[in-house]
């Protein structure tokens, strides 16, 4: 019972954080005889342990799933940053705009299939990205800082446009029919679609790796990342490469946006929520390195999920601190090449 002093004030002091330790209520303890107490507390511990296992397992699978989504988001960013040396602050905008576009295509009025919508959205954003690069960024060739600021200004424009067109309500499409439902394993229940996202991420990673390591285009990109001026000397049309890579980055972001929409939904402010995560992943993993983006994504997926669960107050600090440390101690990131 709550203890109240004579003049009506409360005597209990508020407790701090809801703790995960069991607080069996005093009355239950007092009433049960000795044996039952021992058994009930033992089985309580077992339930405790199992539920904690379930929690960790679910969080771990969640982290991997989120990491997959982050990779899709960050791969494009990494390429752009690596090749063009500009952190594209519009990347979140492409993610959000692509997601809105894809969701619109999935409306009953248009009725496109989920995958068709995702690809169509990617193509649309590629065109827009190419346009932005060719018409605006190229005017500022060589002035990296100005280019960064330009992408920042464009992100303001895009976010307001999205609000104008799609209003303030969140849009959340259902996952494609064949991927709905849950998976039950190891005592946990997990949405099938999130696991599918991991598979998609790995597939895209493989495709990108093939592109970068095994094709001529990829070789040109790698040359540009390593040393753009010399690449020009050798005859590689680096400016055209820039446009291509920017478009590719935008397409990847849009694809990620549509794929992520059933999980995250699409809402105003999504760009501002996702851009910092892409930033962290790429800085951590190393600009221009796809392996770095992959490793970084899963790392951040874990930090994000476990951080939110264990240290909700410091959730963002936990995310940005590694980025900061990497920037200060090893600016090229875990797998990056050379200094920025």
């Amino acid at each position: 019972m709550r203890r109240v002093s004579k003049d009506g004030r409360l005597l209990d002091r508020p407790c701090c954080r809801p703790s995960r330790r069991a607080h069996p209520s005093p009355s239950a303890q007092e009433r049960a005889p000795q044996d039952e107490v021992r058994n009930s507390s033992r089985s309580q511990l077992k339930i405790e342990k199992r539920s904690r296992m379930t929690l960790w397992l679910t969080l771990a699978v969640n982290s991997i799933a989120f990491g997959g989504l982050l990779f899709l988001l960050s791969a494009g960013f990494s390429l752009i940053f690596g090749l063009m040396r500009i952190p594209n602050l519009m990347h979140g905008s492409f993610f959000m705009l692509g997601a809105y576009f894809g969701v619109t295509l999935m409306l009953p009025a248009v009725g496109a299939n989920f995958w068709v919508a995702a690809l169509a959205s990617a193509v649309a954003m590629a065109i827009i990205g190419a346009g932005v690069e060719r018409l605006l960024l190229r005017r500022l060739a060589g002035q990296e800082l100005a280019q960064v600021l330009l992408t920042l200004g464009l992100s303001f424009i895009v976010s307001d446009l999205c609000l104008m067109i799609w209003t303030g309500d969140p849009w959340q499409p259902l996952a494609p029919a064949e991927l709905r439902g849950v998976v039950r394993a190891g005592g946990i229940v997990f949405p099938l679609y999130r696991l599918a996202v991991v598979v998609i991420a790995v597939a895209v990673a493989a495709a990108l790796w093939l592109l970068v390591d095994w094709t001529r285009l990829g070789a040109m990109i790698r040359a540009g990342v390593d040393d753009a001026p010399i690449a020009r000397v050798v005859g590689i049309r680096v400016s055209r490469l820039f446009t291509l890579v920017f478009a590719l980055g935008a397409a990847l972001a849009a694809f990620a946006g549509v794929v992520g929409a059933p999980i995250l939904s699409v809402y105003p402010g999504l760009d501002a929520d996702m851009l910092p995560l892409a930033l962290i992943v790429v800085i951590l993993g190393g600009t221009g390195s796809l392996l770095g983006a992959l490793v970084g994504s899963f790392l951040i997926g874990f930090l994000y999920n476990f951080g939110q669960a264990r240290f909700p107050d410091l959730a963002y600090v936990i995310l940005f601190l590694p980025m900061l440390l990497v920037l200060v101690l090893r600016p090229q990131g875990l797998f990056g090449k050379g200094g920025s």
């Binding site: 409360l10 069991a22 989120f66 303030g168």
Partner: protein, 413 residues
């Protein structure tokens, strides 16, 4: 891009007359300048736009006349940023010279503008739920016709324990004052009735992924109470279902978790959810039938919390104006009248306690399908609910304000 010509002309006229020195005493036959402080951009925009639509509907029905005088409406947009809300309220008061304000929408904006409202002696009919503004730090110019954060949650807790026979529950809400206060009220009544809240979760207001919070959820409970605002209830519930939890744990919602505005975007998965609110589009009284029907004709969806809020506040405003014979310049008389008024509104009969907070009916609703669309059907009514529930006013106020950790949660596992 919208260029609001009407606003421009009005404001230009107001600006010109405002710069005339000395300021003229307004004749009683001049129009009443009504300000609406809402949110039209940003995540809270859908509720804010509803607020404007319902208020305009009310004014149109009465030909923009209340208490025998014309009414001029000025709309301010805070973008959901509390500091900007405060500046916009300042703009409405100092530049547009409003007599009375309906709004603001969100609790944080009300708290940010609290001292300005006192300083400017701005008559305020609030939509926002900030509790202490009508409790321990009562603002003499502030009145609220909707609900405090916990006013609608407390009856739901009673319903959960007594009717639904839930013994163990979990609460989850946005990590803002509104969410804290709502869960605290729910917890207090639920535990005082005999139940146990075994887990309290708070998620940030904008979080892309609720996966972490669903992972931490204890599933060996009877029900989960959702104290979300805006469309977070909808987003959380979607993910909740994806993890296969629907049917395992009963879902009950607070007054903004499954509002009519988000319900229209949901499907059959929402059927059967029980929520509480001081309003439902399905309330059977003459005023509401007309209001909801007309709103539906105009905008093609049912009015919810936000639309009803301004419609009810406008009714309160009109009744008060009638009581003081339209003399809104007499602020003291206005505040005295509003605290003594009894009005029949779309939400049913309302009156006000001595702190300016409403005393009215709270409805327990269930989501059902009617005429092909999802509605919140009223399954139970708690009449004459005050912000103190069944607790004695002095004892209630002697306790600290409802917060994240007050009342202390004793049964957490």
């Amino acid at each position: 891009m919208k260029f609001d010509r009407r606003r421009f002309i009005e404001a230009a006229g107001a600006g010109l007359s405002a710069s005339a020195l000395p300021s003229l005493v307004r004749a009683q036959s001049g129009p009443i300048r009504l300000g609406l402080m809402t949110v039209k951009t940003g995540p809270l925009a859908s509720g804010g736009i509803d607020m404007e639509r319902a208020l305009v509907q009310y004014l149109k029905e009465r030909n923009y006349t209340m208490g025998g005088r014309k009414v001029d409406l000025f709309v301010g947009d805070s973008g959901g940023v509390p500091a900007q809300a405060r500046t916009k309220i300042q703009e409405l008061v100092e530049r547009d010279k409003i007599h009375v304000m309906i709004g603001p929408l969100d609790t944080a904006s009300a708290l940010a503008a609290d001292d300005y409202i006192r300083q400017a002696q701005l008559l305020t009919l609030s939509v926002a739920a900030a509790e202490d503004m009508t409790q321990r730090k009562p603002n003499p110019w502030f009145t609220r016709g909707t609900s405090t954060s916990s006013q609608s949650a407390q009856p739901l807790a009673d319903y959960c324990y007594k009717t639904l026979k839930h013994q163990r529950m979990v609460t989850i809400a946005d990590d803002i004052a509104y969410g804290h206060e709502m869960c605290a009220g729910f917890q207090r009544v639920f535990e005082d009735s005999g139940g146990k809240i075994v887990q309290k979760l708070f998620s940030p207001l904008t979080v892309p992924d609720y996966g972490t919070y669903i992972a931490q959820l204890k599933t060996n409970v009877d029900g989960i109470f959702l104290g979300f605002a805006g469309s977070n209830g909808f987003r959380y519930f979607r993910q909740f279902n994806e993890y296969g939890l629907k049917g395992k744990v009963n879902v009950v919602g607070g007054m903004t978790a499954f509002d009519e505005a988000v319900l229209r975007n949901m499907g059959d998965e929402a059927l059967g959810i029980i929520t509480t609110c001081w309003y439902s589009a399905e309330i059977e009284n003459a005023i509401n039938k007309k209001f909801a029907a007309n709103f539906r004709v105009d905008w093609n969806y049912d009015p919810g919390f936000y639309a009803a809020a301004t419609y009810v506040e406008a009714a309160v405003l009109e009744a008060t104006l009638n009581a003081i014979k339209g003399n809104i310049e007499d602020k003291q008389a206005f505040m005295k009248a509003v605290r003594g008024i009894k009005v029949d509104t779309a939400r049913g009969p309302v009156s006000f306690d001595r702190y300016g907070n409403v005393v009215g009916s709270v409805y327990i609703r269930k989501v059902e399908r009617k005429e092909g669309r999802l509605v919140n059907r009223v399954i139970h009514t708690y009449p004459n609910v005050s912000q103190f529930w069944t607790y004695e006013e002095k004892e209630f106020l002697a306790n600290p304000v409802y917060a994240r950790d007050y009342p202390p949660a004793r049964y957490l596992e």
